[in-house]
């Protein structure tokens, strides 16, 4: 099976994150940039399918130069090769334009199965898998907590508000995974060394037949008008329990009219 895993580089969600003041985009320059956490689960799932059914795993990333670090890190887990969509005109792209670019790249990669994270931690938008599937005219099975591959049939179990549901589709398809699906492996030393030699192909917009005016700020379908930091919460009263902690807690809740 020819599997493509979508990997996005994002600012570390464990640290302070900001928008840039000059153009309102995510500040990636000063941030510690990492692989979007959920995409590691996508990589793991792809590798497991390859191990069970054979095939090839390709990483696909759209992002600036520095995304190369994340691509190498992804490759060190075990995928075979990577494609990096890199073009200065991409800066400032909205989700709609990003999906156009990723779909164009996927069009050239002939994937049977596209696996991605259910959402990215910078935008938390959760839209990319369906946008891409819509453009490619293939099925999207999203938010998988379990994926079974049987020949060309994919079966996914996904959590819903009420419980869970089981959905199926045939390849080609896009599957997005939640972090409950598996436990991503750590890259081995051998894997890290091997990743340095794995092929990383670069696609420009011209290679994909996408006009620069369709992406970036020119092609954006939405814009951030302004942004500000929310004033940080400040802690209020803190008491130490000396036998009356529970009662004091309820007294507080009562003054706030919760009891």
């Amino acid at each position: 099976m020819n599997i493509v895993v979508l990997v996005k580089q994002v600012p570390d969600s464990g640290a302070d994150r900001n928008l840039r003041n000059d153009d309102n985009t995510v500040d990636r320059g000063s941030a510690n940039n990492v692989i979007n956490e959920m995409d590691e689960y996508a990589i793991e799932e792809a590798l497991k399918i390859k191990e069970a059914h054979g095939g090839e795993v390709t990483i696909l990333t759209m992002g600036p130069d520095r995304a190369t670090e994340s691509i190498r890190k992804a490759l060190s887990m075990g995928p075979d090769k990577a494609v990096h969509v890199l073009d200065d005109a991409l800066h400032g792209s909205c989700a709609v334009a990003t999906s156009k670019v990723l779909a164009a790249a996927l069009g050239q990669l002939n994937a049977d199965l596209v696996i991605c994270g259910a959402e990215s931690t910078d935008g938390r938008v959760q839209v990319m898998p369906h946008m891409i599937a819509e453009r490619l005219g293939v099925a999207a099975l999203t938010g998988a907590r379990k994926l079974t591959v049987d020949g060309a049939t994919l079966t996914v179990e996904r959590q819903t508000e009420e419980g869970y549901e089981v959905v199926t589709a045939s390849t080609p398809a896009v599957v997005s995974v939640w972090d409950t699906i598996n436990e991503p492996r750590y890259p081995s030393f051998k894997g890290i060394m091997a990743a340095k030699k794995k092929p990383v192909q670069t696609f420009s917009l011209a290679d994909l037949g996408v006009a620069p005016t369709e992406v970036g700020f020119d092609g954006a379908t939405s814009a951030v008008v302004e942004h500000s930091k929310r004033p940080p919460r400040s802690g209020g009263a803190k008491i130490t329990d000396e036998g009356e902690g529970g009662v004091k807690l309820v007294e507080f809740l009562a003054t706030e009219k919760f009891v």
Binding site: M131, E165, V167, G235, L249, F252, E256
Partner: protein, 319 residues
């Protein structure tokens, strides 16, 4: 005034969800709200009274197995046709998995901008969003097409405004490409009488400090006394204390209740990501240095196994 389409979120068990009423309230600021019900046969009829109570002047219904038996693609197709026909002033969906997914497909179909996790929407279409785990407030606008936004639950207070909506059944004609992802089974899990986590006015969450699954009864008891939902940290979920669907945080649910009670939770940044826009935060933790106290309006340093039962007893006394 132009129509504003509100895509209804509802469940079989509880009917119209609160976020739908919030969207209807928000929609009235922008135009005349029309509710869109996408579901099984008879869904709109069952929901119409409630939708009318909150100002839906009209209900568009697309019903049946072609809508209900597949993941979101058919819903997006029907909605795209409707948008082209009625040219609404805006389209509002819930910022939950399905709402975002329908919106995603709609954005591509119409080549239209999309804004997710919106907590406020001005008459000129400027949306307020909360980004980066609640640390940043963003004002943004759709610059291509109409305002297509997904609204985060608990963002506005639903206000009734009586209307008597007529139901217009839409013709459902979906393509084979829309029917590629088939739902083969839907399993409802026992929820009990507690409110839904993202919509609850009170959330009581337990963390690793709760110790084991059995002890979560303490968390549930306090939640029930306060009429709230139960949440859990990822550490509690990963340790098998409580099911994943109740996880609060970056890779779980985002909640924004009036009151959030954190029991035995340290307050890691990924946990805060899902709860720090709560109105009032209360924490119980035996470690006085735990970061959760930095955001707690009221914190008790001590053993939750002593404090929580005592608090429960005190609430019962006062009732």
């Amino acid at each position: 005034m132009s129509e504003v389409l509100v895509v209804v979120e509802a469940t079989k068990e509880f009917g119209v969800k609160k976020v739908t009423l919030e969207m209807l309230t928000l929609a009235r600021e922008l135009g005349t709200p029309s509710a869109v019900v996408l579901g099984g046969t008879g869904a709109a009829e069952a929901l119409s009274a409630k939708l009318g109570e909150y100002g839906a002047e009209k209900i568009y219904a697309a019903e049946g197995d072609d809508i209900d038996g597949y993941l979101v693609a058919p819903k997006a197709t029907v909605l795209a046709e409707l948008v082209k026909r009625v040219q609404p002033a805006a389209v509002l969906l819930a910022s939950a998995q399905e709402g975002k997914e329908i919106a995603a497909r709609l954005a591509v179909k119409l080549d239209n901008g999309i804004l997710t996790d919106v907590v406020g929407l001005a008459a000129d279409g400027t949306a307020t969003q909360v980004a980066f785990a609640g640390s940043t407030i963003v004002k943004s606008k759709v610059t291509k097409g109409l305002p297509l936004v997904t609204v985060r639950p608990n963002s506005v207070t639903p206000a009734p405004a009586a209307a008597t909506p007529a139901i217009e059944q839409l013709t459902v004609s979906v393509t084979d490409t829309d029917k590629l992802a088939t739902v083969v089974e839907r399993v409802a899990e026992q929820k009990g009488s507690r409110p839904e986590l993202t919509e609850a006015g009170v959330v009581v969450s337990g963390g690793r400090g709760v110790g084991n699954a059995d002890n979560f009864k303490l968390v549930e008891e306090l939640a029930d006394l306060l009429g709230g939902a139960v949440g859990a940290s990822r550490a509690a979920v990963d340790s098998g204390f409580y099911p994943h669907q109740f996880q609060v945080g970056q890779t779980g649910k985002t909640v924004s209740p009036q009151l959030y009670v954190a029991l035995g939770i340290s307050g890691a940044i990924q946990h805060r990501a899902g709860m720090q826009t709560s109105k009032t935060i209360v924490a119980v933790n035996k470690d006085g240095e735990a970061p959760i106290f930095e955001l707690a309006d009221f914190g008790v340093v001590g053993d939750l196994f002593k404090i929580v039962p005592q608090a429960a007893e005190e609430i019962r006394k006062r009732k």
